[in-house]
Symmetry: C2
Amino acid sequence: MSETGTGRREATVSDVARVARVSKATAARALGDYGAVSDAVRDRVQKAADELGYRPNALARTMSTGRSNTLGIIIGDIENPFFAKATRGAADVAAEAGYDLILSNSDEEPSVEAKAVAVQLAKQVDGLLIAPASSLEPGNLQPVLDAGRPLVLFDRTVPGVDVDAVITDNRAGARQLTELMLDAGHRRIAFISTLAHDGAFRAGEELSSSAVADRVIGFVETLAAAGIAHPESFVHLNARRDGVDVLAARLLDGEAAVTAIIASDSLIALAVFKAAQERGVLIPQQLSLAGFDDAPWMSLTTPGVTVVEQPIHEIGAQATRTLLHRIRGDGRPPETTVLPQTLVERGSVAAPPED
Amino acid sequence: MSETGTGRREATVSDVARVARVSKATAARALGDYGAVSDAVRDRVQKAADELGYRPNALARTMSTGRSNTLGIIIGDIENPFFAKATRGAADVAAEAGYDLILSNSDEEPSVEAKAVAVQLAKQVDGLLIAPASSLEPGNLQPVLDAGRPLVLFDRTVPGVDVDAVITDNRAGARQLTELMLDAGHRRIAFISTLAHDGAFRAGEELSSSAVADRVIGFVETLAAAGIAHPESFVHLNARRDGVDVLAARLLDGEAAVTAIIASDSLIALAVFKAAQERGVLIPQQLSLAGFDDAPWMSLTTPGVTVVEQPIHEIGAQATRTLLHRIRGDGRPPETTVLPQTLVERGSVAAPPED
DNA sequence: TGCTAGATTGAGACCGGTCTCAATTCGTTT
DNA sequence: AAACGAATTGAGACCGGTCTCAATCTAGCA
């Protein structure tokens, strides 16, 4: 009641102990709810704590127990709906288990990611969830392994780093979308991703996101199986987010024009849809469009956008469950959980226009 | 190089000191980059640290310095694009200043929020950013004040709690949208929000979100000024997210049908747009629609959706800047920063249909 | 009533840093 | 060469909890 003391130092276990006339150890036991304390003393301590407005210091606890009840999560960008959903999935599972989340955005920059990893480790997170900025360089993950801290990757794997991962079947999803286009009669189909990559994509080249890599593989192999020549020439990377419209425009006319586009995420699908609309290109009559990741607006447009959907919330949730298992000391060999992608057909795919 | 020791305890300052043959105090000075250390010793310590794979323990540092370089942010739901953007704004400013973010979702539940506040305080955050779940009960914020920890509210204020806040001019925004509708000739205009509220809205009632309250005030006063009777009867709250379609359907036909709808956020606008589409109600010919918060898809639909836009990223960024000032000891009296809302006209508002 | 197992309590080390204060070393000046 | 101030270093307390281990207390049973 009389807690108005502005400059007053926060009450500690010792303070409470003094007021309750017990030892620090006993007060700590009563407050921390561990060890054995008689009911009488417990009440007395609790009363003293209330009176003093005692608020525990979780860091001090972590110092001695070694457990922080905090997880780190490093993602590309929380504004990206994919990461927002996955983060929510992670936060839900974490909260349920009494854990908090420290969030870092890497902007898909390995250097930023490296710094985030260092900070999170310094803050003694009990485990880390990372959507790695690069599937090619395991370097950023090494400190986590060195520190012996549990680590679960999600959305992407990093070959060579033997840890748990939760991903979806991107290759199958890409195959499905590509087949859908082929079945509709398309032969010139573009795949667009914003993934940064040096120069144009060439067959066999490794990509810095295993998720995109898997999609590209599924796309290329399906085209190849259908007898399409140089399928990799239809893969367009480096479509910087604000440049998707430019790329789309280029793909929509000229002699190299395609009749179908597969967008590697919902933001790209949106940009393509807009570009087509602005240029008066009718979907699906003149251009077929399909993409990865469902978004609420996709059933709003005319036509709706056909996509393969990922259980994004579940990716984050499952990754966190796995992480918690590891924290609790599950010693099984690391495994990669692959969740399914499911096709949601709307109206954006149709037969290509007649010449 | 030889860091493969799996069970090996993490190296500490003392370990480094021993290897570098200096005192713990000196090693700490060299590693922590404070105090004075000779160059020779600094190098020797650094070498020892590298050799041992020394990684600092930020919590131990916090224990003695009292500074955690961590901010807490408590929002409704990170999946909501509004909060995702604001959080990104906060994270950017925080990262720039060397701070991390601990994230909690309150789901707009005061009880969940209360728990989040307690946990964040226990984790010794240097300050808190909160989009308060309730503008009516200051109870949840009291512990923050008691703990003497800097606090900045955003999106909503809590009358009676004298702290900094960053909001936008919702009343003006609502006025603008309402006038737009009135000018187009509408007389029956509905305002829809998902804000939970007991029973139907009555004039003068207080709402648990000051943001929505301000919008309602702007809406109602503008209708009243136009001579519309019982303007508050056009306010529809409690539109639970999945019930917006039902409500919209109800507003679209029957004798109580409205000719225009103002949606209190982009998710509601989407639901209304969809409901209209599904029922074959043409926008803007049969129904005019406008809303708060811009979203990428709003320029995709036919017609585009007219909105007042808030500088959401900046809300989070500005709130964090203010918080950092307070942490650094700015003693000025708390102030509420009001950012402008700007009208973005697209095609979703037109004259009401003739009877 | 005496004795012992079990429950309760207290004392103090410990986690890994920072920081104060005193001791030591060094470079200069006279 | 002695003396002085500045720079560097070391010793140890401290932050606020937890936890081990020993001391004390209580109750049950012979």
